[in-house]
Amino acid sequence: MLLDRARINGPMDRAAAGDPDAFAAVARETQDELFRLALANGLSRDDAAEATQEALLRAYAGRGGWRRGADAMAWLCGILLNVVRECHRRRQRSRILAAADGPAAADLAEQPAAGGRPWEAESLGPLTQAIDRLPPRQREAIACRYLRQMSIRQTAAAMGCAEGTVKSAVSAALERLREILQELP
């Protein structure tokens, strides 16, 4: 469940005004939720923890640009999604490079990162695999909208797009998920 914006906006306002302790309070309140959003976007536990830290660090560095009155949680989720995209890009790049080095290196690159994923061995494994195969924007829409129960407005703010775009991305993602699940053995 996404955090109430009123719970974070006050400390975030103070942090933007220059209070370092207030940002520590923001981080303490949001770290679990950001970590879950990173997991929902297909990162391993270790990568998700690192992405959470990186997102908080970027938020701290950019706290001067925080717009008072905006949704702090959506703002932080947007920063995290940027970090997650970069993480996926790095992973894809390493896969390509490993494939160029030979099949052994490619197998090594395909291995899941240390820390694993919480639902990998459960009955929901096929669903997580299907989510991993979605295009990035559709995966983000599903992760925000369904896996973290964010509203359309919060999802749009986090993804940096219009609400209509979120709706169409969610609709397309659900359709694509169903197709992928049918393809899976």
Binding site: A27, R36, T52, L56, W119, R148, L181
Partner: protein
């Protein structure tokens, strides 16, 4: 839920949505391992604003009390408690210069060369002797009772030799 049904349409995605919700519940149990942000550095304890104001007020009161005490300590003491020098100028055959003496103030200072009326009337309760120093002698003027009695002593002697005059 209504919004989601609109997004889903009527093509039977309920099972998929339920699986997604189950996945969401599983995610809710996840927590960040450890601490993503360092704790704020401990800062020296600051007194609350109200306490600071109270301390400032108390310090101001104490400073005022100290100032009053110092003022009183440096102010002249009441008459009768302090010994101070009173200078008299004596002229005559027996004295050749200015003399100084210490007296106990039991009454207001007499004017130069005069004897206070109460002393002259013998009302002063304590002995009052004026000592006048010359080059080689001392003159003692006893103002205790009755008319002043003047005695004389050489500096090399410890006792007055004689009463030389009685002022009237």
């Amino acid at each position: 839920m209504i919004a989601r049904n609109r997004e889903q349409g009527d093509d039977g995605l309920d099972g998929l949505v339920k699986d997604l919700e189950a996945l969401a519940h599983r995610l809710d149990a996840e927590r960040y391992p450890g601490r993503a942000w360092p704790l704020p550095a401990p800062r020296p304890a600051r007194l609350p604003a109200g306490t600071r104001a109270a301390w400032l007020a108390a310090a101001a009161v104490a400073a005022g009390v100290c100032a009053v005490l110092v003022f009183h300590a440096r102010a002249p003491q009441p008459a009768g408690d302090q010994v101070s020098g009173v200078r008299y100028q004596v002229s005559g055959e027996a004295s050749v210069g200015r003399g100084s003496a210490s007296v106990r103030r039991g009454s207001p200072d007499p004017a130069e060369g005069q004897v206070p009326a109460e002393l002259a009337a013998g009302q002063a309760p304590v002995p009052q002797v004026v000592v006048v120093e010359d080059l080689d002698s001392y003159s003692f003027i006893d103002l205790t009772a009755g008319p002043p009695v003047v005695s004389f002593a050489m500096k090399d002697s410890c006792s007055p030799t004689s009463v030389v005059a009685v002022l009237r």
